[in-house]
């Protein structure tokens, strides 16, 4: 898929909460092997944080990098599965916080872990069609894993905001994108349920890998490239292993995946995952570098994007805190504190 107008990313911003819980600590509580864990530790939102506050800080950082008058935004779209309100948009709060209201489209998007890139696809279309000069897409989550479930080890919190605008102002120009979806029930949360359920190993081959690889391949054939032609490749990061395995299947060199692979340090930030990886790559990529980003959302589908870095990245990169700074700002908490902060204790 390509757009009518030449567009790109004109600003990006990340946020990761300060608290961390070690996977070994979760394993200890539930009587599992503390060595064989999916990630080292995961981020935990503080008691006064939620998807909305995380989205706000990411959005503010994106505005700083874009040096954009927020009133020029045509849309603020928040992709998340952890909306603070079941009914009432998170996006209106974010738009108000950054000063983008009232002549703006604001809405929350949902597609499990790819809600963020879904919103990004929307923003690319919105700006690429000429409906608006600028649009902001945010992927954010404060994911909840059921205590003792495999997902508890990785369900983390974080988010990233991307501002789409004219290619002439872009720090990364947009080449093309692809969305690939099927009806695949690998992971879900029913209405009124607090925690999601998943189909265990079914989440692998028919779900994550099938959609990731096909979205990537289809995009590559559209732009006439091989996956390994890109300088950086980001995959959705449910754990530390899956993105590396996907790279292997697509013939992508592992060192191209490492810069955008942050799940080993902060876990799976769900809708924030692929876009946070993208932000981490933007933090280090040089002008001219090409970037392939492929998300995955259960249910199921993948969005794949092709970007090329411009000279502008060097000018704006340091106008807001980078992903590394947020990852480096860490305070370890024990399981009891984690249980309190995440309201896992019935009162």
């Amino acid at each position: 898929m390509k757009t009518i107008k030449d567009i790109g990313i004109v600003g990006y911003g990340a946020y990761v909460p300060m608290y961390r819980i070690k996977n070994s600590d979760i394993a200890r509580v539930w009587g599992n092997d503390p060595i064989r864990v999916p990630v080292k530790e995961k981020s935990v939102p503080g008691p006064d944080e939620d998807a909305c506050t995380i989205a706000c800080e990411a959005a503010r950082n994106a505005i700083l990098r874009a040096a954009l008058d927020p009133k020029k935004l045509g849309a603020v779209w928040v992709g998340t599965e952890s909306k603070p309100y079941a009914v009432k948009p998170t996006a209106t709060i974010v738009a108000e916080v950054i000063g983008a209201t009232p002549l703006i489209n604001a809405a929350d998007w949902e597609f499990a872990c790819k809600a963020g890139t879904e919103a990004l696809q929307g923003a690319l279309g919105y700006v690429g069609s000429g409906m608006s000069d600028y649009a902001m897409a945010i992927g954010v989550d404060t994911a909840q894993g059921q205590p003792a479930d495999a997902l508890e080890y990785t369900a983390a919190a974080g988010g990233s905001a991307m501002i789409v605008g004219p290619a002439s102002e872009a720090l990364a120009t947009y080449e093309a994108s692809c969305s690939f979806v099927t009806d695949t029930p690998d992971f879900w949360r029913r209405q009124y349920e607090h925690y999601p359920k998943h189909a265990s190993r079914f989440t692998g081959m028919p779900a994550y890998f099938y959609h990731i690889t096909n979205a990537a391949k289809n995009l590559c054939s559209e732009v006439g490239k091989e996956p390994n032609d890109f300088d950086y490749v980001i995959f959705h990061q449910p754990n530390a292993k899956f993105p590396m395995a996907a790279a292997g299947m697509l013939g992508v060199d592992k060192e191209k995946v490492i810069p955008g692979l942050i799940s080993p340090y902060i876990g799976n930030t769900y809708a924030g995952s692929a876009v946070l990886g993208l932000a981490a790559v933007f933090d280090v990529a040089k002008p001219g570098d090409t970037v392939l980003c492929v998300s995955y959302g259960s249910g199921a589908g993948s969005d794949a994007f092709s970007f090329t870095m411009t000279d502008k990245i060097d000018e704006v990169r340091n106008n807001a805190p980078n992903v590394k700074s947020y990852i480096g700002r860490r305070v370890s908490i024990d399981y009891a504190t984690y249980a309190r902060y995440r309201q896992k204790i019935r009162m």
């Binding site: 503080g46 008691p47 006064d48 506050t53 709060i93 916080v97 590394k324 700074s325 700002r329």
Partner: protein, 133 residues
């Protein structure tokens, strides 16, 4: 639960918008409609940057109803770059390491919620300036 009361203040609380006296130039936070310095009633909105340093602080161990969720927490008088002092909570900080003069910056956080079913009230808090790596 009062919805209009919070809604009315929300934008000012989200963005730290105060007022500036067109007559004498004094900036105020919270917003005023009469300048306490010169009594002028010609005021305009003023956007504070949200950077400051701690003028004084406390650690709340006995919170008022509705704030138990983040106990213990720090509260502070923050002297803003523009000169005004603002009352706020501190967040993401080591309670042992707070000191008068410490630089802080604005963030948006949940202030409190009306239980499980009522509205969530968001607003500014301040945190130690994020170290850039």
């Amino acid at each position: 639960m009062s919805v209009p009361r919070h809604w009315r203040e929300s934008v000012k609380r989200y963005r730290l918008i105060g007022s500036k006296c067109k007559a004498c130039g004094k900036v105020h936070y919270p917003e005023r409609t009469v300048c306490p310095l010169c009594k002028s009633r010609e005021l305009e909105p003023f956007q504070f940057k949200g950077n400051g340093k701690i003028y004084s602080y406390t650690i709340i161990w006995a919170p008022p109803e509705g704030y138990e969720y983040c106990k213990p927490y720090a509260a502070a008088l923050v002297e803003l770059e523009e000169g005004e002092i603002v009352t706020t909570q501190l967040t993401d900080c080591d309670l042992e390491k707070i000191e008068i003069g410490m630089p802080v910056e604005i963030v948006l956080r949940k202030l409190f919620a009306y239980g499980e079913s009522g509205i969530i009230v968001y607003g500014y808090k301040f945190r130690p300036v994020l170290p850039i790596l």
